[in-house]
């Protein structure tokens, strides 16, 4: 929870985030830290508040208390697009593609929305090169002219990732990138993400919400665990795996009588969060 090793501010930090929906607390004083250049994981049973935390961080939902910092700069009251221009972007659990545009247009549009004056002259050519590079890296080049809405989920997730990468982000948030993918597709997605983050040499960090535990344990440098709106653990994959509270939370889901017993009700209350 201290500053990063180099003394710089963290890429992303959230302190004491609370969110109430009606009477129930979706999040209760949650802290979150993402160091520069790392891939962080955010896990927890269904209804733990992961997507809500994402929505707070990206500005789609206002917290009732707490603050969010991007690169040490407080952004709690910023609009989503202002955060995006400052270098934060995300993907969605349920695909939010620009469904009637081609794959290439999806990426180009994202690039243009984040870079000022990307429309003219040299910057326009830069944009087109950048988009081509990202498509090449993700293996999307053969799909460039396809209409995004026609793609199967797996390719759609790649397009969302590509779109996020094209907006030259400092922090990229991925909401369940592997849902709807088979295991081969999932590991490919993981490989691409690792490559993309490594390419930026510490200039880009990623945070992912994920249900696929093996993927999280492999990819992530640090993991935060939420349960029923509270942070119950934070640390390296090995630490988290050994943490008894985490084990209880996950085993508890199957056992039935656990700290999570109330979470079904909360989940219903969160039904409208997206």
């Amino acid at each position: 929870m201290s500053l990063g090793a180099s003394g710089q501010a963290h890429a992303l930090e959230a302190r004491g985030i609370s969110v109430r929906f009606g009477g129930s607390r979706a999040l209760d004083g949650v802290d979150l830290v993402l160091r520069r250049g790392e891939i962080g994981g955010l896990i927890g049973p269904n209804g733990a508040g992961k997507t809500t935390l994402f929505n707070v961080v990206t500005g789609l939902c206002q917290p009732s208390s707490g603050s969010v910092f991007l690169d040490g700069c407080e952004i709690t009251s910023w609009t989503p697009h202002r955060r995006a221009r400052a270098g934060m972007t995300r993907t969605f659990q349920r695909l939010e593609l620009f469904a009637r545009m081609t794959v290439q247009e999806n990426l180009l549009a994202a690039r243009e929305a984040s870079v000022r004056w990307a429309v003219f002259g040299r910057k326009m050519r830069d944009s087109q090169r950048e988009v081509s590079e990202v498509m090449e890296m993700l293996g999307l080049a053969p799909l460039a002219a396809r209409i995004a809405g026609d793609l199967p989920t797996g390719q759609g997730r790649l397009v969302e990732l590509g779109r996020a990468l094209c907006s030259s982000p400092k922090v990229i948030l991925l909401d369940e990138p592997s849902s709807g993918l088979d295991s081969a597709e999932t590991s490919r997605l993981g490989a691409i993400l690792v490559e993309a983050v490594a390419n930026q040499r510490g200039e880009m960090s990623a945070l992912l919400v994920e249900h696929d535990m093996s993927l999280v344990m492999e990819l992530c440098d640090s993991i935060t665990v939420l349960d029923a709106g509270k942070r119950i653990a934070h640390g390296s994959p090995a630490e988290v795996r050994a943490n008894p509270a985490v084990v209880a939370a996950y085993l508890g889901t199957e056992g039935g009588s656990s700290p999570l017993a109330g979470s079904t009700g909360m989940r219903a209350a969160l039904g409208g969060e997206r």
Binding site: H81, R90, F92, M101, E105, A113, P142, D150, A184
Partner: protein
Amino acid sequence: MGVLWPFLVIGIFAGSIYGLAAMGVVLTYKTAGVFNFAYGAVAMFCAFTYWQLHDAWHLTAWLALPLLLGVVAPLIGLAFERLFRSLVGTSAEIQIVVSLGILAVFQSAAPILYGGQTRSLQNLFPLSTFELGSRLHVGYDQLATVIVSLALGTGLWLLLRRTRFGLATRAVVDNRDLAAMIGVNANAVSRLSWVVSSVFAALVGVLLSPSQGLNVYVLVVVVIYSFAPAVLGRLRSLPLAYAGALILGVVQSVLSRWGSSGAVSDIEASIPYLALFVLLIVLGRRLEESGSALRPLARASATGPDALDRSEAARTDPRRSRQRWRFFPSQLGIGAAGLLAAGLVLPVFMNGPHLVDVSSGLVYASIALTLVILTGWAGQISLAQFSFVGVGAFTVGHLAGAHGSNFLLAAIIGALIAVPLGILVGLPSLRLSGLYLALATMAFALLMDNLVFVRTSVSGGYTGMAVARPRLFGVSFASTTRFYELALAVFAVFALLAFIARRGAIGRRLQMLRDSPVAASTLGVNLTATKLAVFAVCGAMASFAGALYGAGHQTVSPSNFAFSASLELLLLVVLGGRSLVSGALIAGGLYAVQLLAIPASIERYIPLTIALGVVNMAQNPEGTVAVVRQQVREIMSVLKPMERAVERREPPRALSRESHPGRMPRLAAGVGGAGGGLGTRGNAGS
């Protein structure tokens, strides 16, 4: 206060009928998820049918009324149900357009079936009055209307609250598929509610016509009054809708005490629209949320079966992808140049009134283009685009001078006036989309009609205002041929600008707004600024084109720019192709066809044909051009040489992943096996 009592009685009477209409509208929205813009037209059509049965064929009311309520109205309801069932899963936009198309079908079919003149319908109930208190006379017809409406309203409410039908309705609204799985007959439920709603409409028609006069327009407008109370009930609550309707009726009636003409009467007529506009903005997001249960259905459209077919042609062909990069594809350039050349040569073969009609068609195409940009590209549905045309036309009428020497300046001023108005119409779009945005823009258009354009000082009143043909840079465009050339030039410039915008960053920005506002905002798009800008720019362009519209018609009156004109524009644009520049040209062509001198015996069928075409668009939401293009592409793909097919089978290029050996080994095994396999498993997860 005593003077107000009679107005109160009239208000409750009118409010009761609005209440019936509001409940009918709410019912089908609640149960079938369809907001029926054609509700007033059903009422009108049923009233005409009653007139035919009762007054023309001299059936007694005892026979005519049961026939109407028991046979005609239910049949109309069943037809609606059938039509809209096939639209489940299409976007809200398509449903709106189809129901507006049905409105147009009824409006053009009624005169063909029953004659075009205004009819007077006899009262259903005795007109004699009884005395209430000292000096207050209440008509038996008024009392009976209030009782009938209250009884039906209560009955419907009980039906939804206390019976299995109500329970089934709620199940169907909540989740149609799930309800079907637990044994609720979803189709039967929505059939019944369409029938009830349509019977209510028939009653509204029969009860309102004696006092309002029976013609093609009045009932349609009066029923729009009931949209405000329906929205007050958030399109969910019957009691709230009914109460809102009563309040509306009373407020309107009490206001009419202070004058039946002039400013007070304009305000009185505008109150329902003002209420609708304000309610939509105030309720804003809460309306959207209450409608959210229906939204997932709309998602399916983007990946519908025909969309898949379309992309088959474009699949993984790298040459195609390179083509997309090019700024102005050659075929398109050739096509546009050909059209322009044909346009320039046309005056040689055509002159006089025909050329005037073609000029009007070109001006109309320019106007249609602004709606293509706003609705087709940016996804912001607008039923108020002709109000901006009116702003431009009247501004030029005032400022251009008798010989049109100030025309350009006046047109630019008109465009500038349209900017703040555009921002005003854009305001609801910040919180609303789809149906609610359509309702808000409709309210705006009706407010412009009733508060601004009716003013004689603005528009010259019903006799209209003369607009001079322009004189630009010393050249007069007064002659038919010169004006035609000007119209052609303006459309060519508009179309060229639109093409450039469409292919570039602006076009992409607008489509982001249409396809996923949420993703756009998290990628850095300022939604507020973008939406307001697109409304303002499209308004200004429409106003500029409106200057030419005025000059083309030479005399303009408020009726040129009434809400129904915006409606017709939307229908023609959708029929042409709402997201294509060429769609705007087709819309202009269809408009010109209506004007061209055609034997009168056929002429009256044209609007009907167009309206039926729009209703049929349910199957091809992208419009005529897209259908033709699809046909051509299919034919071409049959004619394609063989080797193309082989080329397609090549696997996509494998990912290069040698660059970061330090991090990769953990995953390498999984990745190796996945090369090119991603996403080949069909649409299972989406």
